[in-house]
């Protein structure tokens, strides 16, 4: 701890304690450092707007489908009705749903970008996320751009029932067409990515990278322990574990993401433009 002060001496609107190294971090400095701990490189979660800013070439982003919001197809109510939950999340976040999509360039490569935001109802995937990603993939196909999706999600949105589940098939249908057209798709997995998002587009990139320390699991902890009740080894379900198990191409620290994705896209594009290999 810096200067031997106790945590309660740090007002929470000014300071954040790093859960990894316990360092007290000045919020402004943390934000300047892309929400990465200046002492131990712990990657804090990052909002979708900030994420877009760090990923794309400066000023190149133009948002698509910003007005799309969810209906309530099931008339779903638990402790409160689903429309109220959405309205609350919208008010809190200023966003319409758990994803922002648009066009941009990354290292001068034209891309369609989709970035999820965990702060909006746990980044859950309902029909808005499904529709926006599907449109993104269809636009990438129509305009022959690469597709980059940044995932951060607790899984499918239960309040939309099987219609949420169907989004997995809907999105993957569009990704199949993109693949057939030999257009690149880069999946960026951030903390946390689980459930139906991991079991669909997050796991399918031509290149799949993750941020250090990200939790990446098919089953939520609650589901796993409730259903099967086994004890899990430490490090299980973290990005580093998945790299070792063969499911990630690389773990890329946040400050290097733009450059790294740009490298891969440039390689894929350089060769594709050269139609000499085209069959």
């Amino acid at each position: 701890m810096p200067f031997g002060r106790k945590p309660n001496e740090f007002p929470s609107h000014l300071w954040t304690q790093c859960p990894s190294c316990n360092e007290m971090l000045f919020n402004k400095q943390l934000a300047r450092n892309l929400n990465v701990c200046t002492k131990c490189d712990h990657h804090f979660r990052l909002g979708a707007r900030e994420r877009i800013e760090l990923l794309v070439d400066k000023g190149s982003f133009h948002e698509h489908d910003a007005a799309l919001t969810s209906g309530d197809p099931l008339g779903f109510t638990d402790s409160k009705p689903y429309p109220e939950r959405i309205a609350a999340a919208q008010t809190k976040s200023g966003e319409k749903d758990a994803i922002i999509t648009g066009e941009a360039t990354i290292g001068d490569n034209p891309v369609i970008l989709a970035v999820m935001d965990f702060e909006f109802m746990g980044g859950s995937m309902g029909t808005v996320v499904g529709e926006k990603i599907t449109r993104a993939a269809e636009r990438a196909l129509a305009e022959r751009r690469a597709l980059v999706i940044v995932s951060a999600s607790g899984g499918a949105r239960m309040q939309e029932g099987t219609l949420a589940l169907m989004q997995m098939a809907k999105i993957l249908g569009a990704l199949a067409r993109l693949d057939q057209a030999r257009l690149p798709y880069v999946s960026v997995i951030t903390d946390p990515t689980t459930g139906g998002v991991l079991a669909s587009y997050a796991s399918l990139g031509d290149i799949i990278v993750a941020e250090p320390g990200a939790l990446i699991r098919f089953s939520g902890e609650r589901v796993t322990s409730g259903t099967v009740g086994e004890k899990l080894p430490t490090g299980f379900g973290k990005a580093e574990f998945l790299l070792e198990r063969g499911f990630l191409d690389q773990i890329v620290p946040r400050p290097q993401l733009r450059e790294r994705i740009g490298f891969f896209l440039t390689a894929f594009r350089a060769a594709s433009q050269d139609l000499r290999w085209s069959l």
């Binding site: 099931l74 139906g196 079991a199 399918l204 796993t224 099967v228």
Partner: protein, 321 residues
């Protein structure tokens, strides 16, 4: 404006290939009585309900099972092979529960590991290579959620399986036999026609799992099942399934032979229709079928264009209704 609530009507019409003579249920009103979601959950999980191999043995004239994922293990929770329906060869893939505790332990209660989905994918490709129609049977609480599944890529296997079905260039008929549990079911669930047994269920998360998260108590599973609309009639109204296959009055578990007979009638009719569809039409109809699912509100946007006439209407040269 709320412009796209997916409903049975739209989806069934777009895929409008459900022959009347197969005795299928395409409207909840056709049902004498409507089960509650929780009754459906219990019926779908009844251990005496006919499971995949039982149905396959009764529906098809001959069946030879094919084993293995060619990489790690033969997963007993997924079975598959080549079968024959009135001389028409098909590829079968299904999730397999047991009819007893011992059998359920051997079959891992119908919860596949990643190698099960990889076996399924191998058989999907076999079907495609030889232009054989693919018939899948869904009956699982979900993909196995334990550590071995995570270690070997449960999520990757499910994702690849869904992707492959979406692009597989051969007709696919999906039958939800009992429990359709989440991604572990959808990995077998992307088809040109999706049928469900009258008392089958299909859900994005198990009712218990949903209850544990939203109501903080698995005991609220009944409320969760109702809220998620998991029963056959619900699925029909949501357009998630195209039709229900009727079960005997007491439920499928009371009469395996009659249940199989109804499935056989339904499959024979679907295959007869699907084999007349040009492959390119099949692929775009499958894309559109899943593309249509949504419940969206888009301020200021023009209403979406009406879907093009389905291949079925074009083929039949009948006017749209």
């Amino acid at each position: 404006m709320l412009d796209r609530i997916t409903g049975t009507k739209r989806t069934v019409e777009a895929n409008g290939h459900l022959p009347v003579d197969a005795n299928l249920i395409t409207e909840p009103a056709q049902l004498a009585s409507r089960v509650s979601a929780w009754e459906a959950v219990q019926a779908a999980r009844n251990i005496q309900r006919p499971h995949t191999l039982d149905i396959v043995g009764r529906v098809f004239d001959r069946f030879h099972e094919l084993h293995g994922d060619r990489g790690f293990r033969d997963d007993p929770a997924i079975v598959g092979g080549i079968a024959d329906l009135d001389g028409r060869p098909v590829v079968i893939v299904g999730e397999q529960k047991g009819a007893s505790t011992e059998e359920n332990i051997a079959r891992n209660f119908g919860m596949p590991h990643p190698e099960g989905y990889r076996k399924a994918m191998r058989l999907y490709r076999l079907a495609e290579k030889f232009h054989l129609p693919l018939i899948t049977f869904i009956d699982t609480p979900g993909a196995y959620p334990g550590p071995e599944g995570e270690e070997r890529g449960q999520a990757e296997a499910i994702a690849q399986s869904i992707l492959l079905m979406a692009r597989l260039q051969t007709p696919i008929v999906v039958v939800i036999l009992g429990e359709g549990g989440s991604g572990g079911a959808l990995a077998l669930g992307v088809g040109d026609v999706v049928l469900a047994m009258q008392n089958a269920i299909y859900s994005v998360i198990s009712p218990e799992g949903c209850a544990a998260i939203l109501w903080r108590s698995p005991a609220e599973a009944e409320r969760a099942a109702k809220a998620m609309r998991v029963s056959g009639p619900d699925l029909l109204e949501l357009g998630v399934v195209d039709a229900l296959i009727p079960e005997p009055a007491g439920g499928a578990h009371t009469d395996h032979a009659a249940t199989a007979a109804a499935i056989r009638t339904a499959l024979a009719a679907q295959l007869a229709k699907l084999e007349r569809v040009p492959a390119a039409d099949l692929m775009s109809a499958r894309y559109e079928r899943f593309r249509a699912f949504g419940a969206l509100d888009e301020a200021g946007a023009a209403p979406p264009p009406p879907p093009p006439d389905s291949w079925w209407r074009r083929m039949m040269k009948r006017p749209s209704s």
